[in-house]
Each structure stands twice: as C-alpha cells, then as structure tokens.
Amino acid sequence: MITPPAIQVENLTLAYGNRVLLKNADFSVKKGDIFIIMGASGSGKSSLLRILTGLTKPASGKILINGTDFLNASEEQQLNIMKKCGILYQSGALFSSMTLAENIALPLQQYSTYSKEDISYLVSLKLALVGLAGFEEFYPSEISGGMKKRAGLARALALDPEILYFDEPSAGLDPVSSRLLDNLMMDINQSLGTTLVVVTHELDSIFTIAKNAIFIDATTQTISARGNPHELLKNPPNENIYKFLTRGKNHA
C-alpha cells in the first residue's frame, strides 16, 4: 500500500470577498517533510495556514490530510484530524491564567486517557524537549518571548501530532534563539518523524531547515516556484523567487 501524503491540496482558491490571493493551487506535503511556505508580506501565507488548520474555509478546492478529505469530513472526523495537528502560533498563544504545566496538560486531559500522574510525567518530558525542564510552575507572563515560543511548541507537541504547523516561528527572536528553535524543529522532525509545515520569510531559517518549499507569488496569485530552496536558488524558475531568495540583491 502506498501511504498517502500528509497533506494534499488540490485546486485551492483563496479569496477574501472578490479579492483573490491564490488561484487553483496544487501542492502536496510528504510525510516527514519540512515544508516551507514562502511569499512576500500580504501574499496570503497566514491565510493558507488558517485554511490548512481548519480555522477558515477556502473559496473552493480540496484538502486531503493523510488521505482524508478534510473539508467535507464529518465534524468528528475533522476533530480527529485536528487532534493529529499541532500549531505553534506567532506569540505562543499560551493561556495566561494557567501555568506552563497546565497549558501543556490541557490537551492531554481533554483527549487522552492518561492518569493525572502520567500526564505530569508527559508534561515534564515535553518541557524538557524544548529546553524548559523545571519551568512547570511558571506563568506565561513570567517567561521571555523566546521561552513562550518554546512552551507553545511543547503544547503543540502534547498529543504527539503527525503534522506541526508554524506561523513565523522565528519572528521576534534574536538570531541565536531563532537558530536554536530551527535546530529544535529539525530534531523533532528527525526523531519523531513529525511533518513540519512552516510559514517564514527568514532566509537563514529557510536554507537551514527546508526540505521542500513553495513560493506564493502575489503578482500572479499562483504558486510560482516549488522544490528545495537551494535548488530554486541555483535554477530560479522566475525572477520573483530569485529576488525573494537573494533579498532583492544582485539581480540584473
């Protein structure tokens, strides 16, 4: 049996009212991939992510997650799919009235059958994985922005997701922290086999972690380039992607 791709998007059209951001897009994300969604500001990357995570509906198109039609699934099926997806929001989106431990325990209490004690063990592992061992009893307001992102990642990892989505993970982080986060993402991808879908325009990060990428071209409202970013830089299929990958420098 051939395993279906983690995410398969067919004929997707993305629009707000009659303002089209993406026309008839097709792409698929392999299992275990680190997949980057690139594009200029306002090209619709975050919107695409919202659609992939089921927060909004596209104008038209089809999304298969692990081979299941996500948009036309029953509510229960959708919930099951969403449980297999973790999301790291830009600011971590931790619940401010709960400690880090309670934040991470929340999805486990909701969706697993673990005992209280086992949950606390799972929580301390997840925190340790992101380098926050010993921070269980801290409140989000007591830790830094970079730590909040790590804690958010720990929460996203709580249910052993198969797919992890990131919206601009390195925004607002210093270069060292953002490199650490990149390493962490690669480690998670490597040891847990988690598929990562990452929205970012941090070139450093793109060239370090990406296995595959797509480029949303705001001028044509299409995916104008796809593949490994290193390859794309060597043989750019069009000028926009070349400008993007070279920071607009040295083009003729």
């Binding site: 401010s96 009235s97 697993s112 059958t113 673990y114 005992s115 004690e117 086992d118 063990y121 799972l122 301390s124 592992l125 997840k126 340790a128 994985l129 380098g131 926050l132 061992a133 010993g134 921070f135 009893e137 801290f138 989000p140 307001s141 730590m147 990892l157 052993d160 650490l180 962490l184 480690d187 490597q190 040891s191 847990l192 086999g193």
Partner: protein, 371 residues
C-alpha cells in the same frame, strides 16, 4: 509484563517487549524504583529494545523519568542500545536546558504576610493619590487651555454615558419610585395617611435615592466600560505608546471621560428624580385612589430646592468617583487577558464602596450645617 528488570553482576538491564502506546508511566516507574537493588553496587544501567515494536511519547516520558532517577542517584547508564531516534530525543531533553531563575518565592509566615499587606496598601494609597493629583493638574491645564482634550473622545464618552444611559436609568428609577411608594403605602395606610406617599417618594428620590440609583447604574455601565477600554489599551501597550510620546495619560484618557460623566451625571440624576416620582405617582393613583392633582400638590409641597441641589451635588461627586475608579483601575491593569476582567471588577466594586462612604461623609457634614 512488557518490561523486565535483569540484574547481572554490576549491570542492571531494562528489557522492553512489545507496544508502548498510551503506556502507564507511573506504575512502571514505581516498579523500576522498587526493583533497583538498594545497596548492591550498580555500574551501568542499560536498555534492551530488541523486541520493542511501537512507542509514543509516554514511553519517552518513562525513559526520561528513569534517567532522572538514575542521575539523582548518581548511577552510571548507557543509551547505546536504544534506537537512534529515541536516543536523540533523550539527549535533547537533557541538552540545552535553560536554568529556571532562582526558585519562586516561598509561602511566608503570617507576620510577613501582614507586613506585606500593609506595604501593598500603602503603595496603593500612594499610587491612588498621585493619580488624583495628576488628574487634578490635567484639569488645571485644561482650564488654561494647555491640555489636549480630543473633542472626538469627549463626544464619544458623552454620548456613551448620556443619551445611551437614559433608557436604563429611567426604567430603574421608575421601578425604585414604585417600590418606595408601595412599601411606604403599606405603613401609611394603617394611619389613613396614604396621601403622604407623595411626600415620601419626592423627598426620598430627590434628596438621595435618585443620585444613588444613577450612581450604581453608571458604575456598572460606564465605570466598567472605562476600566475595560483603558485596560485593553494597557494590554496592547497603547498606554505605553502614549507615555513615550510624552502625552500625559491623564489628559488623553482620563479628562474626556471624567468631563463627560461629570456633565452627564447631574442631568441623569434629575431624570431619575422625575422618573422615581412618576413611579410613586403610578402606585398612588392606581392603587391608593389618590387623584393625580392631589398627588402632584403634595409632591410639589414636599419638593424643596435645597434637597434638589443636594441630590444633584451627589450626582456630580459620584460622577467624579466613578470615572476616577474606572480610569485608575484601567491604567493600572496588568498585562494579560485576565487582568482586564480583574480591573473591571475592581473598578465597579470600589466605585460603589467609595460612593457609599462619601455619601456618609457628606451627610454628616450637611447635618453640621443643618442643611
């Protein structure tokens, strides 16, 4: 039993068999700790995962806890035989750990708590006084036309605490007048003096009840909304932005709101007085067989301008209290989502408490002057 513990000379071996999905960490951990020989010298603890098939993070958690125990007891261990990705995950858990800042403050004893409380009350008082001070100077600046009072903000606040509050104020004070008359009538009827219901309601509403009802309504309605609006601005760092631009927060946020409420409150108080008397009249006329003209005659006799001005004066004072409380707690709101709720609650409760306290003080003072 999916885990077996084997001791060979100075080595201790954990052998895993089968699936470790949704696995019970705590009981396995207890088993491990129990089977660790107490005194015997153990050189290395190692793992055998040849027969391990499927696992999820509960299994990793277990291994992590096992390693924590091993490290605590200063025993040797080897991760050699673990599958690569498991080994990697465990190494990751111990690598790059950020060290939590010094332990969080411990629970202190009661003496310390009292001292702490006193200090907090003192600093809150100081903060409150300096807030009132700042607002006062804003007003002075406004009088000398040096403060920036944005007309839009002022009109918005005025619309919110004036016209938009008329409905609820009318309804509630009508009901209060009605209740006052009804309860009074039951007593007065026994003396055949029900006509004095008119005087009772008029004096009661005009002197103090009108102002108090409006005060309570506006504390819940407008005071809360001031605190929530400014609190949200605090959360979004908008208040910080104002401060760094050098615009006094008291000019920009507090002045328009206080001015609006101080203008609206006396007018609303008059409205409440009138509606309360109307409520009393409806009881008197419909239930007590007092004719309208009789009712108005007695009401008019009882109406006295001093009482009216006392009521209106209360209205103005309440307006100041409510807007000060709302703005103060809004500006001193914390930085997370809960804090807006906390600020709103505090604003309403403290406004009501202060209104009652100040009413008491004013009453005593007026009595001294025989007003």
């Amino acid at each position: 039993m999916p885990i077996t513990f084997q001791k060979q000379d100075s080595d201790f071996l954990l052998v895993f068999r089968g699936d470790f999905i949704n696995f019970e960490i705590s009981s396995a951990l207890n088993d491990f700790i129990k089977s660790l020989p107490e005194n015997a010298k153990i050189k290395t603890i190692s793992f055998n995962t040849e027969k391990l098939s499927d696992w999820d993070s509960s299994f990793v958690s277990f291994l992590y806890q096992v390693l924590l125990v091993i490290k605590e007891k200063n025993l040797g261990y080897s991760l050699e035989n673990l599958p690569d990705n498991l080994k990697h995950l465990l190494e990751l858990s111990f690598e790059r750990a950020l060290i939590p800042p010094s332990a969080k403050p411990q629970q202190s004893d009661w003496l310390e708590k009292i001292g702490d409380w006193a200090l907090r009350v003192l600093s809150a008082l100081k903060k409150g006084m300096s807030f009132i001070d700042e607002t006062y100077f804003s007003f002075i600046r406004l009088l000398f036309k040096k403060a920036v009072l944005r007309k839009e903000d002022f009109l918005f606040a005025l619309d919110d605490c004036g016209p938009k509050a008329i409905g609820i104020v009318s309804l509630i004070s009508f009901m209060v007048g009605l209740i006052l008359a009804f309860v009074g009538a039951l007593q007065l009827k026994t003396f055949g003096a029900q006509i004095y219901v008119a005087s009772l309601v008029t004096i009661g509403m005009v002197r103090i009840m009108g102002a108090i009802m409006v005060g309570i309504i506006m504390a819940g309605r407008t005071g809360a909304s001031f605190a929530a609006t400014i609190g949200t601005m605090q959360v979004n760092e908008e208040v910080d932005a104002l401060r760094t631009m050098g615009i006094p927060v008291s000019d920009f946020l507090v002045l328009p709101r206080i001015s609006a409420l101080v203008i609206a409150m006396p007018i609303l108080t008059c409205l409440a007085d009138f509606m309360g008397i109307l409520g009393g009249a409806s009881v008197g006329i419909l239930l007590l067989d007092i004719t309208p003209s009789e009712f108005w005659l007695y009401a008019w006799k009882a109406f006295n301008l001093t009482n009216f001005w006392v009521g209106v004066f209360h209205g103005v004072v309440f307006g100041i209290i409510i807007s000060l409380c709302g703005c103060y707690y809004g500006i001193n709101c914390g930085r997370n989502a809960d804090s807006v709720g906390v600020a709103t609650t505090k604003a309403v409760v403290s406004a009501i408490v202060w209104m009652i306290v100040i009413t008491g003080i004013i009453t005593v003072i007026l009595k001294e002057f025989n007003i």
